[in-house]
Symmetry: none
Subunit: 186 residues, 4 copies
């Protein structure tokens, strides 16, 4: 593990645990066993460190979403697959989930970075658009559909992580179904 990676991982852990405002560089330096100068060798400044972290996590998430999707599946199967992909990525990476959720709408991440990061889930957008064209999905603005789905997944994940519900396959299917019912045509 390189120093650079150590820093990014430590930052992720600290920021999700304590929040940005309670995570000074000094703490990141201490917990990642790195010298102050080393961080500034790899990242321009604190903002750049956060932006980089956000950006890399978004890319990782983008990759996770499309795993196992192939053209043999029918539309609804693809939808279920994507939903589960994202769900599992979040569930298995709770810190990354926390971070991405929290800073998605924060003034802390520069808009430019958010814009670039959006490209990572271009495939998801395309998928929704095609669904509408095919008449499988309702005529809602794509971003609404996208956000409805993402929102549902993140709510579901959060509740499992906070142990407000106990996960089981049946509940998972019901929840995906409830997502599907909210976007499919009747």
């Amino acid at each position: 593990m390189t120093k650079r990676e150590q820093v990014l991982e430590t930052t992720l852990n600290l920021i999700t645990d304590l929040g940005f405002h309670a995570t000074p560089m000094a703490l990141i330096i201490k917990k990642s066993n790195v010298a102050a100068g080393t961080i500034y060798h790899h990242f321009k400044n604190k903002e750049d460190l956060i932006d980089t972290l956000y950006s890399e996590l978004k890319a990782e998430m983008g990759k996770a979403i499309i795993q196992g999707i192939n053209e043999e599946l029918i539309y609804k199967e693809k939808f279920f697959r994507i939903w589960k992909n994202l769900f599992l990525f979040f569930l298995n990476n709770p810190k990354k989930f926390e971070f991405l959720e929290h800073y998605a709408h924060s003034p802390l991440i520069r808009k430019e970075i958010k814009q670039v990061s959006k490209s990572y889930y271009r495939p998801a957008i395309d998928f929704i658009e095609s669904g509408i064209k095919l008449g499988i999905l309702r005529e809602l603005p794509v971003d609404i559909s996208i956000n409805l789905i993402f929102g549902n997944i993140s709510t579901f994940v959060r509740m499992i992580l906070l142990e407000e519900i106990v996960f089981n396959e049946e509940l998972l299917e019901k929840t995906i179904q409830s997502s599907w019912d909210s976007i499919k045509t009747n």
Copy 2:
């Protein structure tokens, strides 16, 4: 307007615009026309100020939710009413919306405060529970249903505020419908 109210209002505006870490007390002091000591007379420290703000806004939101609900309405009408109540509260109070959304899952707000604040939407929880008992809503954990609905509303509001979609009555009805379809029994 008391000094205390001045401080809370200014804090809400500044924090939503700039973020917590970019809102120094000095700025709150200046913009609320109050002396430094006065803030610390009313609030223990910066954290307590934020906690108080969060708590009071949650209470206000709780009141907004149940307006106009009476026993003459049928279940689905009540649901639509509640959905619109919350939607309008957020849309008409964008700063409050921003703040509540952003700090809902932040380590900044003490867990104790979050717990207390939860009581403010007790009526909503009761409403969902009764819907399930009556067989109108699916057998999903109440908190999931609640969060699905809240999540949908907030996604919808955010997109209107960010001007990613243009609001109209038809779209509103479609969106509520998509929420309703995700929780109602088939």
Copy 3:
């Protein structure tokens, strides 16, 4: 007990327990059940409060020193009496002892106040001077003798209060004797 007395007593207790720097007016106000303004009605400011306390305690100490001294006693008996008087005053008033000891040489108490307070143990000074004239005490500067005696008493008291030694009559006599041996002529 008047409000003024409440304030003085609370101040004595807090300052000896916490030190001057850790005893803000706000704490004195709280612990003495008095309003901020009330203190400033009785004392010009914080310095005046401390000065007054010091001054009144010195006066009280002055009175204690000369109790039971009458002309029927021989010189050495008077010395033992005075020594015990001061010893008992300190032992029975540990907070007053602490305070007087600590602020005796502190830049906190205005020199003017110290000067005035000195007059309270004029009788002790006269007593030493007469001892030297009578040839009973050594030819040492009066202030040295005075301070040697006071120093010994305070050391003795402090050790009892800190439970570094256990008090008994025999030890008391030995200690006074050691004081007497250090100033009497051979």
Copy 4:
């Protein structure tokens, strides 16, 4: 001279001149030609700075006490030597004297620090104990004898520094003698 040493020396001077509460960190920073952060790099906070200063001065004093003591000297000569060593250390280092005296019994210095500092004059304690065993000194608790001697020295030094007496060899001998007479057997 390191930055750390600069800070300690400046602190000693300022605190003895003005007192703790009248010596803001800003003044220490200015007078020691150091940046604010530099102090906090070396010391945890203001209290730690004072504690460290106290501790280091005690150690220095401990070293001074035992200079020139060797086994060829008889007991009384050693006593006179030790007395003079401490006397001279205080007289030649008036600021250190002031500081050590003033904070010896102050709640400002943490008890833990005081405990550790006590070890620095272990040799003096051993010396007194051996004197009692040899029958040269009275059967008084060691700490009493120690404190009586220290008390006398400090009273003497203080009076010279305050110019309440004029120092000369004869007076010095008389004062040591008065100390000796208070602890030796008759």
